[in-house]
Every structure is written in C-alpha cells, then in structure tokens.
C-alpha cells in the first residue's frame, strides 16, 4: 500500500497551535513599556471579549441555570411549583424505561469510535489520490449539507419493510435477511446508528483527510526509504501524526451522537418499538412536549448534560495523559 498522496497539502496541524505571544509580552525584562503594553492588551482583550461573554451569559448560562431550577419543579410550561428531587427520583426510580434509554445512549456513544475508524479508512483511501478522488470527497460530504430530518425521511423509506433495502435483498436471493428494520426492537437502534454514521461520515472524513494532508512529505519519504509501507505506514507514521485530528473527530462525533440524533429518531422510529430506539434527548422531548411534564424534561436534560460533561471530562483526562506520555 502506498502513501504517495499523503502530505501533499499545506494545512497546519493543530499540535502546538497555541496563539503566538508577542516577544515583548513574554520577556520578563520588558520593564515599564512591557507592562503598559500588557495592560493595553488586557484592556482591549476585555473589550473584544465582553460582547461574546454577555451573549454566552444570556443565551447559554442563564437558560442553563433556569433549566437547573425547573428540574426541581413541577412545571407545566406556565406555572412552576417547587418539588425538590421528585423529578429525579421519578425519572430514576419509577421509570422502568429510563434504564433502557440510558443503555441506548451508551450504545450510541460506544459506536462512535467505529464511526471515526470507518472515516479514517475512507480518508486514508482518499489521501492516496485514487481516480475520481475529488468526486468521492464531494460525494462523502454531501450528506453533511442535509438536515437530519431529510436524511431520516429518506432512509425511513429505504429501510421500510417494503422499501428498497429489502427489495434489494430479495432481488439477490437474500430473502431471509429482509425484515422490518425500523419496526423490530433489535434492529431499530442499530439502523439509527448506521444512518447517523453515514450522515456524519463526511464531516469526519474532511477532518481526517485534512490531517493527513498536513503530514510533512519528508517524513513520509524518510519512512518509505526506511522500508515502511502498508499497514505499518498507517500505524506508525500516519496515525501518530493525525492523532489530534482523530481526537477532535471523536469528541465532535460523541457530542453529535448525544445531541443530534433527535431528527433521525423522530422521523425514522419515533423512539420505538417500545423504547428500543429512544435516547435521553428524545425522552426529554417526549416528557416535556408530549406529556407536558416540563420539570421532568428539565431533569432528564440535566442528566443528559451531566453525562455529556463526564464523557468530555474523561476524554480530556485521557488526552492530557496522552500528552504526558
């Protein structure tokens, strides 16, 4: 396997991409002039950051605090009555479905490394510069430009019991495999994950392909001269160089898997059969907008938020450990 196409680009890697600090500010001997400049930088920095900080407070932090408050209330959308931990207790202790919903979320998150690995393979193949590489790149990216609702509707038709996928299976004699993909508990969530992986593939391929293009040609040449090729080239040369891109890709994919599946679930399965394809995000919607239990929905939102926070924290911890290595 050749890696001739790698390193042909000029995009800078994010490694060590910290903003360059003017020498005068770094100098410990800058004296009075340096200190005045530092203050001036700080003043202007504050001015530039303030609008964004205000927006963040108003549009993000305040609603988040409101959601925390409402998660402790019985709120029908208009009137809120403080009920303490009842929403959390109800969600965790009295809802037999919640365990299944959380397991569904874990399954979705557990699938993300495979989504990234698949994208890595595609990006690597594209980086080899095969015939029609540009066309393939565009083709892989097109789903990223579509809304999840459109993707869900299209795949809903393809995967329906009398749809094209089953039609194809029957046409090639695989009748036994044809089934009600979205109406069967064991296949509904895997189908959602499959479609999500397909829809998000372009984004991951773009990221990873960019990473591969940023590898210095001389590194690849040197490796080649040392007799490295094929899988060894990927494992020992390519992967270490695009590690940061893989990490970024993984974080984005996990985040999307937790917060962007709603459109697919809504259009493809409505969370069913039963709750076999319901995630916390969808359960939050059902609780709030179908049941009118906004307080309970806010509690589920907080659980989702904490889960997302823990996953990101663990990812950051592992990244820091990796840096130390």
């Amino acid at each position: 396997m050749s890696a001739a196409g790698l390193g042909s680009g000029t995009v800078a890697a994010p490694r060590g991409a910290a903003t360059p600090v003017p020498r005068v500010l770094r100098s410990s001997r800058g004296g009075h002039r340096g200190s005045a400049l530092r203050r001036q930088y700080a003043r202007w920095g504050t001015v530039f950051v303030t609008p964004a900080a205000v927006l963040l407070l108003v549009l993000t932090v305040w609603p988040l605090l409101q959601a925390v408050y409402y998660s402790f209330t019985d709120w029908d959308g208009r009137e809120a009555t403080w009920i303490g931990w009842d929403n959390y207790v109800n969600a965790v202790a009295t809802s037999p479905d919640l365990v299944r919903v959380i397991v569904n979320n874990l399954v979705v998150v557990a699938s993300t490394p495979f989504a990234v690995a698949f994208a890595l393979v595609v990006a690597y193949l594209l980086s080899l510069g095969p015939w029609g590489a540009r066309l393939f790149r565009a083709a892989f990216f097109i789903p990223v430009t579509l809304s999840w609702v459109v993707i869900g509707l299209a795949w809903g038709y393809l995967l329906s019991s009398r749809g094209a996928v089953n039609g194809l299976l029957k046409a090639v004699g695989l009748d036994a495999l044809a089934q009600d993909w979205l109406g069967t508990p064991s296949t509904s969530l895997p189908m959602i994950i499959m479609v999500f992986t397909w829809g998000y593939l372009g984004m991951n391929v773009l990221l990873l392909y960019t990473g591969m293009m940023s590898i210095d040609k001389s590194v690849l040449e040197a490796a080649r001269l040392d007799g490295v090729s094929g899988v060894a080239m990927i494992r020992h040369i390519v992967l270490p160089h695009v590690r940061r891109y893989v990490e970024l890709s993984l974080i984005l994919t996990i985040s999307a898997a937790i917060t962007q599946l709603f459109g697919l679930i809504f259009t493809m399965t409505s969370g069913g059969p039963g709750v076999s394809s319901t995630t916390l995000e969808y359960a939050l919607y059902i609780s709030s907008f179908k049941m009118g239990q906004f307080g309970q929905g806010a509690a589920l939102g907080m659980i989702l938020f904490l889960a997302s926070l823990v996953l990101t924290f663990l990812r950051i911890r592992s990244g820091v450990r990796g840096d130390d290595d």
Partner: protein, 437 residues
Amino acid sequence: MKTARLFAPLCAAALLLAGCGSGSSGTKASVTPGEVTTATTGTIKVWAYGSLEDAKHLTSLAEAFKAKYPGIQVELQGQPSDNYYALLQASLSAGQGPDVFAMFPGGYQKQFESSSLDLTGRIPTTDLQAVQAQYFSADGGVDSKVYGVPLTAGMYQMFYNKKLLASVGVTSAPTDWDELSAACDKVVAAGKTCFGYGSETGAGSFAAIYDWSYLASVLPLKDWNGLTTGTQPYDSPDLVDQVTAWAAMHSKGYTNPDVMTWRDVRKEFAAGNVAMIMSGSWDASWASKALGADAAAAPAPFAPTKVKVLIQMPDNGFSIAKDSTSPDIAAAFLQFAVSEEGQKLVSEAGQVPSRAGVAVQQPLNDALLKEAEAQGWEKKPMFDNFIAPNVTDAINKGLNQALAGQISPADALEGLDAATKALPDKNRVDYHLGGGQ
C-alpha cells in the same frame, strides 16, 4: 484550552435545554366578557388538530362566522397531529399561541387547564349543557369552570369492505373473536389482508388506543375508573385474555406482518386489498369516498361474546387561550360553533355533531348510530380521554409490541400498570366513570 473544551458540551447542553427554559411564569390575562356585534372588528387565530383538509367543518364554521360578523377575520391553521400538543405547549408557553385551539377532554384537557380560559359566563349554560361540555370542566359539571366545548361526538370504529367480505362468503361484520377468526381465515385464503395496521409516517406505531378502548370494554365502566386511578390493575386475567386474543390476529397471519411501519394501509384498504381497519368517525367521509357503497362501519369485534359496545363521546372540541388578546371574539366564535346553526354545519361537513337533536348527515356514521340505538349498545367513552398522556403513550407503544409478538400481552399490560404507578398524584384524576370511586 481545558476551559474551552469544557464549554463545548456546556453550550450544547444549554442550547438543548434552552427550549425548556424559555417559558413564562404563570400569568392570567384580565378579561371582561363583552358583546360581539356586526360592527366588531378583529382577528382570531384558530389552531386545528391535523390538516385543514380533515377539518372541513371548521372551514365551514369560519366562513359562516365571517359572513355573520364581516369585521372579524378567522385565521385557520392546521397543525400536524403527530406533534400537536408539543407545538401548542411551546407556543402557549412562549405567549405566541393561538386564540382558539383544538382540544380533547379528559387527560388532554388537564394538561392545558392552566393555559385555557374558563368559558362559563362567556357561553350560555344551556349551550354548554346541550353539547355536554362537562367533559371539559374541572369537576365534571358545567356549573364550575369549563375549559372547552366539544364540537363533535366522535366514535372509534372499525371500517370494513362489505364487497370484499361478501366475496369470501362473509355477509355481515364479525361481532366477536370467533366470527372474526372465521372471517379472517376466508379473507386470508383469498390472498387479502384481513385486518390492516400501520403507520402513515412509517415511524413508530399505530394508534392502538382505538383497539384498546374496545378490548377494555369487557370491563364495566366503573372498573375503567379504577384503571385510570390505579386501583384496578391492567394485567388482570380478563384483560390479558383480551390482548392475547387480539395479538393472535398477527400470529395467525390475519394482519399484515409489518404492523408497526406499513405506510400504505389506508391506500390498500381503499384499493380493496384490506378487509378491515380501525379508525374513527372523522374518517367516515374518507372511507365512503374510497369504497363508495362498499364501505361500512361497525364496533370492533374484540369481545368473547357478541359486542354490544360503541365507543363514542363528545370529544373534538376547542378551548380559548388564557392569553388571547381577543377573548370576546374567540368566545363568540365558539358560541356560534356549538349553536344549532353551527352544529348543522358540523354535520354537513361529515362529522357527528355534539349537540343533541342535530341530525347526523354522514351515512356511515348515521347508520352506525342508528344501529347502536336499535341494538341498545352501551356507549363508552374513548379510553385515552381519561388517562394521563404517558399511559396513552404506554398503550400505544406496549400494545403495538404485543400485537407484533415482540412482548407478551402480560408484559404489555404490566407496562401500563408501571406507567400508571409512575404518575404524580395530581395526574391521577378520578373522573368517577360509571359511578366508580
């Protein structure tokens, strides 16, 4: 860098939660009933449940009302039924809701009580009584707070294709499990689907609540009350037997295999390839148009002995938003809708009017009601109107799976008990059905 990374999920979660955090706190508009005359001007926005195509009676009412009050505009907006309550809740919470909105009594109404205007004093008590508006009241009477008025007295019913059944030697609609089995054996042998189930969107499930209302009819109405309050278990032997017999329709091949997701069930019924489907009186005009004289309606034959029950109640109603800026015009519109004149328009549009004494003009519905009267069938209300939304959701999900053979009938019914048990006390409303406590 760490901070920036931490903010990413924070932003995502907060944005996700923002929809829950933007509601206004409890406000009550101060309104004074006023008289609406031909000189009154203004506009009211009316939300219909589902497409306006399916609510022709509403279009007729709006046109007639505008003709009566030339200075008033009635803006009708059809809202998707799949997502109706979500949209309504969101828009009312944001203070951007309609003046008048479609509403159903019981558990549906309860969700929106704090957003709805009390209609007593705005609509004459005689009119409220004539359309049985007590189903929309806080305590079951029209003398207390009434939060809506029913425009139609809908029915859950089975539509069947007389010609298709006759072609296999079945001359009348089946009336119990045995007759249903016998009829379905013949229909299936002829290469047709006996009972069609599916979802037009292909996503999720069909409304098993129609079927359940008949399945649960083996119990007296006072026991329904126990089911809604949690004092009577769902997984009782009688109900397990009923759901088992119902689920056997799938295992015996009487239904289509893909009961959860078949998109074309209505299309195939209209094409004469499906003998029976479950729906309601609102679809009678569609069935008549699709099959002409071959269409007929009957109670679902989901009973061990001859079925003597018809599921009917004043249901499809309208409420006025508490925050409406034109409550007087909105009330005048609803008063017109429940008047004899308005109810005749409802009937002409193919619906069953809620007002007593107004003739039913849709032939299928009329025939079914006359049959019910002649046979002395007991009328029971629609089950979903008296249970909390999460139990309705559990019925629609659990029974679907039972029919598809994915879970046992007992497990499906245990799920309903669990859903009932999980209800907050305030949602465990006692409607005293059948005099039950």
